[in-house]
Amino acid sequence: MPVTVRTFANSGEAAAALSSDRSARYLGGGTLVMRALNEGDTSISTVVRASDQALTRIDATGSRVTIGAGVTFARILAERDLAFLHAPARSIGGPAVRNMGTVGGNLFAPVPYGDFTVALLALDATVSIQGGLGSRDVPIEEFLQSRERQAGTLVLSISCQKPGNTEAFRYRKIARIKPKGGSVITLAAHLPVSSGRIVGARIALGSMAPTPLRARAAERALEGRSLDAATIGAAAAAAAEGTSPGDNALASAWYRREIVGVHLRRLLLGQE
């Protein structure tokens, strides 16, 4: 069924068009919205696009990086200053999907997709959004908790602090097919260390709930401790607490709960 396509030069106008029409969806890279149209999703009658250059800007020179919502995963991979995000960017799709899919769109990707968002959740990213009433910054966790209601808001950019060193941020996507495959589970950990102790641990899990979520019990097990075998064991044992994974063709909910602690232990030990 044909839809109305509205293209704006300015993200503010696009946001206004989006917020005033319940059946409008913002089209970024196309991997979610065009797929929905191909599948005959009749809830979409208007597609909103913006050619605003600000949406594809990357500012990665300082200690805090800001990535426009329209930046593709291929561009993340081409940016040396974003090396800490290369593993999550590389874990998405094949090359064509990485040339199309965007950081902003990934925030909306349902299970088993949305791996990049898992990394951003562990990094405590801030999502800059524009609704009908202006723009504001929202912590990514809050954004994800209300994702169902965010279809009418336009994501402008995502920002986060660069991890202190390469050991402090770890990411792993568990897939059955190499090198490309859907996520069985996805894990990301931000482990800042101060005087030998972990301060402000954040563990994020993908495919363990309808949206990426934090493993708070595992975080508590790590907080204020050194990363030794006993601490890692306690974190791994608590990994599934508070999660609500579902069954899909890639794995069952039972299997996901069984393996999440195993993979968290390996991630924390730095094992392959």
Binding site: M1, P2, V3, T4, V5, T7, L27, G29, G30, T31, M34, R35, L37, N38, E39, V47, R49, A74, G93, G94, P95, A96, V97, N99, M100, P179, K180
Partner: protein, 159 residues
Amino acid sequence: MSKTALQFHHNGRDVAIFVDGGTNLLVALREQIGDMTPKFGCGQGGCGACSVLIDGELHLSCLTLAEAVAGRSVETLDGIKDGPNLHPLQRAFAENFAAQCGYCTPGMLMAAKALLDRNPSPGRAEIVEAISGNICRCTGYEPIINAVLAVASGDRARA
């Protein structure tokens, strides 16, 4: 619902068509321009059969809004041969038995071309990564990887 005028470069030729709102590039190429080389596989971005190059970058035409290629250059399998001569990748696919049913072949060739245009001598791992978004249910991939390796290792000059 009104139609939108769309102009772009298709395999080096300027084309102008009218599209319905929301039409994807694959439908525009096949049904309006008559280029049947990109295939419809899944319509979800999972199979790669519809792969084309847009401004030299590999894209999935079924997930590309046709209007989004206005003024841009779209290259499909139909455009890679040189007159009556097959592209070196096409010859290598034939010589290495890299096509059986052939449905994935146009997408595989475009994914391989995107790689070789950027990196003329990739290793095996780079080839595997480059075709990782393209599904083949016949060959088991090995003959495809070998065909691309054959071109990458210099058979291209002789082809």
